[in-house]
Symmetry: D2
Subunit: 245 residues, 4 copies
Amino acid sequence: MAPAKSFYAVVAGVGPKTGRSVALKFAKAYPVVLLARRPESYESIVAEINKAGGKAVGISTDITDQKSVEAAFARIGKEETFAGAGLAAAIYNASSRAGSPKPFLDVTLEELEASLGANPRGLYLFAKSTLPLLLKSVPDSPHPPTLLVTGATASVRGSARFASFAAGKFGVRAIAQSLAREFHPQGVHVAHAIIDAGIGFASDGEVPGSKLSPDAIANDYWNLHTQDRSGFTQEIDLRPFVEKF
Amino acid sequence: MAPAKSFYAVVAGVGPKTGRSVALKFAKAYPVVLLARRPESYESIVAEINKAGGKAVGISTDITDQKSVEAAFARIGKEETFAGAGLAAAIYNASSRAGSPKPFLDVTLEELEASLGANPRGLYLFAKSTLPLLLKSVPDSPHPPTLLVTGATASVRGSARFASFAAGKFGVRAIAQSLAREFHPQGVHVAHAIIDAGIGFASDGEVPGSKLSPDAIANDYWNLHTQDRSGFTQEIDLRPFVEKF
Amino acid sequence: MAPAKSFYAVVAGVGPKTGRSVALKFAKAYPVVLLARRPESYESIVAEINKAGGKAVGISTDITDQKSVEAAFARIGKEETFAGAGLAAAIYNASSRAGSPKPFLDVTLEELEASLGANPRGLYLFAKSTLPLLLKSVPDSPHPPTLLVTGATASVRGSARFASFAAGKFGVRAIAQSLAREFHPQGVHVAHAIIDAGIGFASDGEVPGSKLSPDAIANDYWNLHTQDRSGFTQEIDLRPFVEKF
Amino acid sequence: MAPAKSFYAVVAGVGPKTGRSVALKFAKAYPVVLLARRPESYESIVAEINKAGGKAVGISTDITDQKSVEAAFARIGKEETFAGAGLAAAIYNASSRAGSPKPFLDVTLEELEASLGANPRGLYLFAKSTLPLLLKSVPDSPHPPTLLVTGATASVRGSARFASFAAGKFGVRAIAQSLAREFHPQGVHVAHAIIDAGIGFASDGEVPGSKLSPDAIANDYWNLHTQDRSGFTQEIDLRPFVEKF
């Protein structure tokens, strides 16, 4: 499909689990930009994608810092593969669990700030940089331009000893909801996924499927991205079949 | 894929919109059974599927009536295509809006009963007949055996003048949640879709995508059915990009 | 306060716990009518109230049956104390847990029907009889005329093996929400209380306050009833301090 | 009631509406400390309470600043009336709507930070200072020591153009939920009130009760504070009878 060649995806918060699987999945259709604070978080994934015939670049980015995020997107605009291309999908997968789980009276202000920083502030900065690009892609992207946001159990439940993490994740969900209501009518799809489980691959001796597979998440993110605009999902939950909820 | 040949799907509540699209979608992978009260609701869809090389039968069923539902499943067991086959997917798409919208004091007991009948009681009867079959399919069905349930805005919001419909749809959601919690650990996937919009195809002169397309719903139902058991979704919402929510 | 003399309250679903405490509480301000299926459920409470100088009558009523409910309200209109008086508060405290907790495949249709009967249908019948009376009281009742509805954990959560009870309680919540949205603007307050715990009095050896006291519930119901119409609460939750949630 | 003399209440976020009404209400039972950034926000209320025979002091406090909050509580410990007294109730009524309503792409990072600062961070700081004091009061305070938190529509709904405010208020709700789950079992009551309306007094020509009266809120806060620990409410909603929801 010709137009796919001129669109790309960007994933913020890349590590060995969800970020990697999502990057690999979207890399089958689009060149991808991987953002993470430390190069060792994305280098092997970039190599894996490029080796498999895809196209990927990684950019060291502190998602909690306005200048760093703006610099990352300025650089994307100058990369050969991405200059002139349209943004088809932006995935916000960064987070911080700082201060959780912990008795509330032991949570430090620094921990709370770290959660607010990598959760609502990070999403705010990422959305500020990506939404203008996604809006530009509305007329011709192969699927409705999409902003996907990774949530957690703590996005909908303030559990005991999770005040810090929940404050951050509730905030992320608030922004995702608000953006959906503002940008859906403009043609940009904004969806929030409640990841209600530990993520990983069940190891030997564990029941297959008993951990939430990053590949399963990536598959669902792709399904959300390819939804027709006649039927946008704003929120899904995801958990392994054995998970209590 | 060989095993798919010996599995089938059943759709309750078939009409010209969601039921038809879901039946056509699942008919690409499985023989399908269509249940509706009146033959004219399924006949043309059965013909459409069989003509396209699929396999479909329709059975007149009053989903609110225990004997009628049991008779339908007894007959399925005797049909050549379905005897010996396993049930891979059961979709509950029946409903009744009796008594809504209407000022509460004008709602009759018969209307409330019709809503409770086609909503929670119908789902109860359908689930009683399908869950034992879905459980049997766990070891070898191509995808985790799935019970999908169609909800509405009224599943999560009791709007003014919608007491009757909301009582029914809240009840459906309650059952779907409870079944998910009981049957997920046994390998059967139970998911509930909040259809938050009028369903149909945007007609000439309307903005494309401004109505929730039945085909989009069918696509999402298929995506839910094919989720790996490492990542089951229990609930999604669906609405056109222009819908207020 | 003079006007209080000509207003009364009615409580449906009277037993030794919440119903009794609510009746005693409201009996301090109003004559009260107690509805229960069996006379032994209300007789001692009626005696207790009348002995203490209050005014109470009990009426045997099957709250799931239209004729029985209509007959009860016809009789209220003929009682000396109540004829000509206005209805200030109606409390729906009836319920049925039939079929819960139980594996879904063991739940009988009769059990589901019992839950739907005493939960949404019972509330529907009670609301149909009381709302016209509450509307008439808007201009002069001492507090905004109030319809209070008792919910449970199962009103907001379909737990495993609680499909039957949850179907009923979700349905009750749906109706309460819908009535609030329709009748608040007309001056009638409709509130739903999520009773998220076993109800009772902590017995000897138990931690004081570790069970949800019926008197605490009654106190909250009174506080809801006496809310000014400038600030209506539609929903509260209630649980003992030690309850997990 | 003798013990009431040695307990006090503290209200953060005092202005002419909710803060003032809550302070006046609690001042009938307890000496009160009023915290606000600017003296002109509390001075007239302090005078009003002291003139009426109550006891009040105001302390200029930037609730978003750790040192300022700690200094305020250090000073409370040295005030004649409060030194040696127990804290019975702490009300968090501070907030910031910075950046809302506004198109998301026009919201500045400073505005988001202001919302996160006066909402989750402010509550965090206030709770860190008050919970140790509330815990100490558990054995002998006249009512279960209480932390009350003011929420808004934006606490449960991320509306279009309210990303900034909703991020803050969702975060506040997360913390309140988490604290309830951690501190209820220790005897401290934590409750969150969703104030779903504009607050004020209906002016001449407006329908009486059509605005959410601060006095109504204060009354409900008092009712929450005086709940027995056998029945704690974690969340209530409040809106005028005419409010759409």
